[in-house]
């Protein structure tokens, strides 16, 4: 029953959503609208579940003195401070438990939650992602070797697109006469993107789309049960 009832629920929900696309009238349209509202609320709880789980994992690491456990105290402290600021004084468009934080805004220029977001979180996130620029250069140096015809194609396409995607590409081949315009690097890059790349990506989309359709059907029909977890 613990597995059967959710499967039946999934089947009913899935079929109603599918049918409402073809028969949007009562009752299917109304039920689907209600399911969509429920989806938003349950998704919200799923987000909260994620955060609670994160705290649980970090607390356990501190309790059992896992390697580098001192750093996880910082994680929990940061989480607590952010939640406290948001709860007490609210955010830019929301009021907190202690009001709208007008006095604090007069002192620091924005609510504490927004201040931390703008001046700490945003910079941390942006910098984390900008590290990838360095890693991609290092990875390209190490891994982009012309060994086989396939890797040669990959390498040539990558170099042409990288040059064509910048002003340097326009500068390097800007002198070409009009009848050789097709060799102008930005045009070569556009050609590669518009035709062979689109073809390859389209093949991937069709393949992945068919796979997703198959797995969606398997979920609705109750054949795919991995999302229910173990016993």
């Amino acid at each position: 029953m613990k597995r059967t009832l959710p499967l039946i629920l999934a089947m009913i929900t899935g079929f109603i959503v599918l049918i409402s696309d073809f028969i949007p009238h009562w009752p299917f349209g109304m039920i689907t609208s209600e399911i969509e509202k429920w989806f938003l609320i349950i998704s919200g709880f799923a987000l909260i579940l994620g955060q609670i789980n994160l705290i649980k994992v970090n607390v356990n690491k501190i309790r059992f003195k896992a390697e580098g456990w001192q750093y996880f105290i910082i994680t929990i402290a940061s989480f607590a401070i952010m939640v406290l600021f948001g709860a007490l004084w609210g955010t830019q468009s929301n009021v907190g438990l202690l009001g709208n934080g007008t006095k604090i805004v007069e002192v620091i220029g924005s609510k504490p939650f927004d201040y931390l977001f703008d001046n700490v979180y945003q910079h941390l996130q942006a910098t984390m992602f900008s590290l990838l620029a360095f890693f991609i250069a290092s990875a390209a140096y190490r891994a982009f070797i012309a060994r086989t015809p396939e890797s040669n194609l990959l390498l040539i396409a990558a170099i042409l697109v990288m040059l064509g995607n910048t002003s340097l590409g326009s500068f390097l081949t800007g002198w070409l006469p009009e009848n050789l315009d097709f060799l102008h690097l930005p045009n070569v890059s556009q050609f590669i993107m518009k035709y062979p790349t689109t073809a390859g990506q389209r093949a991937i989309m069709i393949g992945a789309g068919l796979g997703l359709i198959g797995s969606s059907l398997r979920i609705i029909l109750g054949i795919e049960r991995s999302y229910l977890g173990g016993n």
Binding site: E36, G44, I145, S170, T198, Q201
Partner: protein, 274 residues
Amino acid sequence: MAAKSIDRRWIYLFIFLGVAFPLIFVIGLPIEITENTQMAYDLIDNTPAGSHVLYSFDYDPASMPELHPMAKAMVRHSIEKKHKIIFTALWPMGVQMIDDIMEQLSTEYPDLVYGEDYVNLGFKVGGIVTIQAMGKNFRSVFPTDANGKKIDKLPIMNNIENYNNISYICSFSAGAPGIKEWVQIGNDVYKRPVTGGVTGVSAPSILPYVNEQKQLTGLLAGLKAAAEYEKLIGAPALATAGMDAQSLAHLIIIIFIVIGNINYWRNKKKKGDK
């Protein structure tokens, strides 16, 4: 003697300097307009004044360097064309992105009135489910705007029920949910023109939607496209400023790829000789 591999920290240093120097000492390399950017521009340019348009900010601060400049340029274009802009976000931090851009543009266009010329509906979790629900009625998803004001009280939302009242949908997307979902519902179900911008990472997988069926009407892909749009509207800004740095960084990566290949083949030849 086998060619030694370069310590990766030298590569990091060259990349850092290659990006920093052109930002300080501007070279001013030319920017050419590409077909996809032109298509997006033409869609906005040819939409009559007074039309209601939907902008969806589906990214977070991590993608700001690429998407913020193009978002600012396209919103600026819409404002100049006197479109009525309805903002929404499928990513929670998209709301901050909207606020940031409108804060900047409001100083340049002080006559803009919130509630009449533009409205921020805010963020709703749910991705494709949210987009689908909006297709039936905006009010079922957004009974109030991002500030808690009932949208029925806002003049811009008079007679605006769903996508049928929208001239085009523009999504700035860093992943899922984003422009793909807008194409799947906004264009393929409700037949609204969809355009927008994506990060360079997503671009190859989204470009197939730019086709004869016009699932996407043009697409801005990455910082270069943002620079192209800035050129088209005659307002060079952050994206344009970054193009020289982009060029030099790409050149450095290509040089290192060539060095890597030379090292590999030299080592292979030496092993073969032995």
